[in-house]
């Protein structure tokens, strides 16, 4: 009822073109938000970007280090030791003093790209979260010593979570015998993903787990740990599945081998897609406010955004949990020892 009323009142408005403009603007804004960037923009005021620049580090026959403010928000050419660089579609290209770029038919720039080691927004946030975690957990560890084995301050909040990961994720999935060597990775990945996801819900516009490179790295870590701690039984279950007829073993081997790659791949896609989808839906709902421009649309958008924020709060923790849980499951299958081969 409510939504049909809004649609009816909107289709009657004469400013069709103005509406189209704001829609493309919102689309561009969302597209910009889910990408990495060379500056840390907090907000935009009267067409000016308020934020701070981050260092750009390039390797182009020599090291080039300068602040991203030299790009002036991606609009001008930055000069470093006689070389000129320009940002196009969020990538740095080598150019001349005039900033000319040549494009192919798909509108991709053809200029040479220097090797890019820049501290971008995502890298900056990863460093911030790492330092935050170092501070939180080293403080927690120290408080056990100074307080007769009881945590103090933030440790009181963290201790039950650490215990939960140990008792409900690590031990049931990996087993009493081997779980200890995996605990450090499981705890790190859980808290890292969780805190980074929570930062993504703040108005800072952080989006580290929206970047497929970040989730790729996390998934690769799980894959490497699984592969390099795997015991004999794990490889036997892949290449020569016990308890099935011999022709079947030949069919199963490639499938199982493929499965070892699909598992981390699905970890990567799941985290990336969940967080990206959440951000896009959230920003679209907030964008409704600017499309409707009346009290019904605004209050609807506010209400939906509020409810979605609470859901995203759950998703932030749930995705961290699922990532840790499935990692623990894979580690469990890698370190399992079978003493009951005859039952297969």
């Amino acid at each position: 009822m409510l939504s049909s009323g809004i649609v009816a009142s909107e289709s009657a408005t004469p400013h069709e073109e103005g509406k189209q403009d704001i829609k493309t603007e919102i689309k561009a804004y969302i597209g910009h938000h889910i990408q990495d960037s060379y500056d840390f923009n907090l907000f935009e005021l009267d067409g000016k970007h308020i934020g701070f620049p981050l260092p750009v580090i390039l390797w182009d026959n020599g090291l080039h280090v300068f602040l991203s403010s030299h790009f002036h928000g991606g609009e001008s050419v930055a000069e470093s030791k006689g070389n000129y660089y320009i940002v196009s579609h969020n990538k740095i290209y080598k150019t001349d003093a005039a900033g000319s770029l040549s494009f192919d038919s798909n509108h991709h720039a053809l200029n040479a790209k220097p090797l890019d080691f820049s501290i971008t927004k995502n890298v900056f946030m990863i460093l911030v979260v790492s330092l935050l975690m170092l501070w939180m957990f080293s403080g927690m560890a120290k408080s056990y010593k100074s307080n007769n084995g009881l945590p103090k301050g933030i440790g009181r909040f963290l201790e039950p979570i650490v215990l939960y990961i140990k008792n409900d994720i690590a031990i049931p999935n990996i087993g009493e015998k081997h779980y200890k060597k995996y605990m450090s990775y499981l705890l790190t990945v859980f808290f890292f993903v969780w805190i980074v996801n929570l930062f993504g819900l703040t108005p800072l516009g952080v989006n580290v787990t929206n970047n497929i490179a970040v989730t790729f790295t996390l998934a690769i870590l799980t894959y490497l740990i699984t592969t390099f701690t795997a015991k004999k039984d794990y490889w036997m279950h892949i290449f020569w599945m016990p308890g099935v007829p011999a022709p079947m073993k030949l069919v199963l081997a490639p499938i199982e081998l493929l499965g070892t790659i699909i598992k981390p791949f699905s970890l990567m896609i799941r985290l990336y897609a969940n967080i990206t989808a959440g951000h896009i839906v959230m920003m679209s709902i907030i964008g409704l406010m600017f499309i409707f421009k009346n009290w019904v649309g605004s209050s609807l958008s506010f209400f939906l955004a509020f409810v979605l924020s609470i859901l995203e709060l759950l998703v932030a923790a749930l995705q961290a949990y699922i990532f840790t849980m499935l990692s623990a499951l894979y580690f469990g299958s890698a370190s399992e020892e079978h003493h009951h081969e005859e039952h297969h």
Partner: protein
């Protein structure tokens, strides 16, 4: 080419939705029968739902590119 892609992705998402719905419903029933095993059932439910969700997202990606 666009329309079959979108319809296919839609079908996969419907399938994933039905799948996750069934998992959730069955887990509810199981918890009602065995309230003591709530923790274990929830864990198994979340893992199964997460695996299906992966398929759903893969479909969305296919249509997004």
């Amino acid at each position: 080419m666009e329309i079959p892609k979108i319809v296919g992705a839609g079908l996969i998402v419907i399938g994933a939705g039905i799948g996750i719905g069934r998992i959730g419903g069955s887990a509810m029933e199981a918890i009602a029968r065995q309230p003591d095993a709530t923790g274990k059932i929830q864990t198994a439910m979340l893992i199964a739902a997460a695996l299906i969700e992966g398929i759903g997202f893969a479909a969305l990606f296919a249509v997004g590119d």
